[in-house]
Symmetry: C2
Subunit: 445 residues, 2 copies
């Protein structure tokens, strides 16, 4: 009997439930599905959590969301073709949305088919075991509100949609244990106003480093030194932000860089990325990977080939340019496979396919290359699953990337045109760097 | 076959290993013992960890230690009679010790019998199951450095010594999610210097609230408002510290109290205690308790009576006046039971004994009562196990408590006399509130 255990009710998991609920609405017989969600709400990373560290039950906090986050993608890059922004809001809104607005949009789509009915909130998966004799999986979960282990359950399929921006990668630097101020990872960053008037060291050179540095300047940080291994980000920064090579060591409040220069700072923010971590899975089911556009051992980036039965799947485990739409087509593809509407090829064909992608990935050396690669991946899934829409928004991505390189300070003031409605976004009432109230009302109304 | 799984290599776990190693040294045949320790060092809470939240493997940080912590007990309250401070340091040191000095003392004792040889560092216990047919336990662990599940192992006995000051109790207050500054639990407090010049709200009225408030004033916080449900702590505070009733709500930076007063603060520190949490244990083995001087379902405060075989034990799960010496006699008592040198009475006698203690506990209504209660508990274990020393230091505790009530600012400047050596501690070179360098060298040399 087909019975699906879905782990995680963020954008990826909810896309899978959306497709299942929609199929059911269309009169299809869908299998039993249970979605376990650790948080008290659906939406994954898009929920804001005032806590850091562990939650009220002692489990690591999932969220890495900060109060004033704006998407670093124009919404036209992740708009879902069967549920457009125009449809949800009934009017045009700016291209760069905020956390409340984004979550509102996503949950609007789930609500159309009551997809949340499958979700058990506040429930953690503790362990999953594959039973080769029965060719199924046993899942142990715990109800955190009742503070009780749940009876173990059997499932034919496991779908892991727990995200990979939750467990901080936080390397040691000599002397960090002597630093007198706050040392935090971007995972624990909640509100830039904490750092008003402060001198900061930001370690890292990827999206978090760039966005958190700008946030802090916007909300009044005195100065920011960005340090990275991979060389300067090279944007035209506001004068408060300077770039330095990699941090070498820390002595008290003084941070020393590889080039021999040093400065004093009040706090250190690690923007050094995340680790793919699945503490609820045993080694034989556990994806082990760097953050890459094509993780190993996943056919079509989805099916875990190492158990051999192809009934363990992962959604959204790629590094991401495409986000919501990629999760959506992955989920749709996975549903069709699980429902038996689509047959997987033999193992050797799957391996050849994976090798082909991994070879292609070796030629990706820039952001534009990455956008092209992931566009091709998403379009391959569209074709292979019979997804009804063309998700290629490569041109918007490339245009956005050029604008971002031209001006990191103003790129969120740009407007883009929806591929699906033709609507050109309206402008924010003020430039990004002058908008301090980015509540739902302020952005939408 | 007797085979012990000990979980945790803090002061409690190391006391058990000390006794086993010592028995071995004395020519006794001791059972196989494996101690699993999540951290990379022995010493439990006494290790300082610059990280907060999760460790480099994504597991919740164990430690709640802050840089400038001094014991709030005179060392004469926790001195181990067979390994005195005089013996370890070769001279008299002050009564109130610091984290480095305390850990150095504790580890000195372990080293005398090489007790760390039983410890597997960086190894987490993921699950424990009791097998009624075999009357043993299966333990699943994971080597965090190798990032590998270890083969499951069978044990006759489980001893849980993981402490109960690791998982924050952090209640919600209306509006906390809108507060723009840092909101942290004392578990994540690392260095008071972060709060220099700041106005703080400290929630709570127990030892952490008192100690962290004083720390922050000592290192330059501008003002501190202490808010608590249970009424003012009532000490003669320095002028920077004021007491308020319970927090009612938060609006932006403004915190409102039950009495209608309000103030603006820069950061909120929860000193609201910890939860007994054992996420690696299933419900049938899991101690569920408030922080109390006599947790339920533990015969002699140690043996878990609910599995029926009396082979699951907990060390150090009590609320604590006595610390190191209580863990030590508990460990000694547990060793004697496990080695068969001591027989447990029938179930009904154990239940009568537990009821007697719990009835007695109902009459404890003050700190002096609590000290007397725990003295009696510790002395009962001494007698019952044939522990070679008299651990009663009630008089020192009561004297200390009086001095603390007289002056919270100066009580750590007092000296006490060791029950075991007769030595009167030397004084610190300066009063507590003026000592800013409390490194090992500064305190000992």
């Amino acid at each position: 009997m087909t019975r699906i255990c879905l782990i995680g009710a963020g954008p990826s998991g909810m896309s899978m439930l959306y497709h299942l609920a929609k199929m059911e609405e269309q009169g299809k017989c869908i299998p039993d599905v249970v979605c376990y969600e650790k948080q008290s709400n659906c939406g994954g990373l898009w929920n804001f959590d005032w806590r850091t560290g562990v939650d009220e039950h002692g489990e690591p906090i999932h969220g890495s969301m900060y109060r004033h986050l704006w998407t670093n993608l124009a919404k036209e890059c992740f708009e879902l073709p069967d549920y457009t922004f125009d449809h949800h809001f009934g009017k045009s809104i700016p291209s760069f949305t905020t956390r409340e607005v984004t979550l509102d949009y996503l949950s609007g789509r789930w609500k159309t088919v009551n997809a949340t009915k499958f979700v058990r909130l506040n429930t953690i998966v503790k362990n999953v075991v594959y039973n080769p004799d029965e060719d199924n999986f046993t899942v142990w979960a715990r109800d955190q509100v009742e503070d009780k282990d749940l009876p173990s359950e059997q499932f034919s399929h496991i779908v892991v949609a727990t995200g990979h921006f939750s467990v901080p990668n936080m390397p040691y630097f000599k002397g960090v244990e002597t630093f007198p101020g706050r040392v935090l990872h971007s995972h624990d960053f909640r509100d830039a106003r904490e750092f008003k008037g402060k001198e900061l060291l930001v370690i890292g050179s990827s999206f978090s480093a760039e966005d958190i540095s700008l946030q802090c300047v916007k909300f009044g940080a005195k100065s920011i030194v960005c340090s990275s291994r991979s060389g300067p980000m090279g944007f035209k920064w506001p004068e408060e932000i300077k770039e330095k090579p990699l941090l070498e060591r820390i002595e008290g409040q003084t941070v020393f860089f590889k080039d021999g220069t040093f400065t004093e700072v009040d706090a250190i923010i690690y923007c050094t990325g995340y680790k793919h971590t699945f503490s609820f899975l045993p080694d034989n089911l556990r994806l082990q990977t760097e953050n890459t556009l094509y993780p190993p051992n996943l056919y079509k980036g989805i099916v875990w080939i190492k158990t051999g039965n192809n009934k363990l799947m992962y959604i959204g485990m790629q590094n991401q340019y495409y986000t919501m739409t990629m999760f959506d087509v992955q989920s749709f593809w996975a549903c069709r496979v699980i429902l038996g509407e689509k047959t997987l090829p033999e193992r050797d064909i799957m391996e050849t396919d994976m090798s082909r992608w991994i070879q292609k990935l070796e030629r990706v050396t820039s952001i534009p290359d990455g956008i092209d690669f992931q566009t091709e991946y998403v379009m391959d899934l569209c074709g292979d699953s019979g997804y009804q829409h063309n998700l290629d928004v490569k041109d918007i991505f490339q245009d956005l990337n050029r604008k971002r390189k031209e001006s990191i300070i103003t790129y969120k003031d740009n407007v883009f045109k929806s591929k699906f409605t033709g609507t050109v976004s309206c402008k924010h009432h003020k430039p990004f760097m002058s908008v301090f109230d980015d509540s739902y009302d302020a952005i939408v109304n």
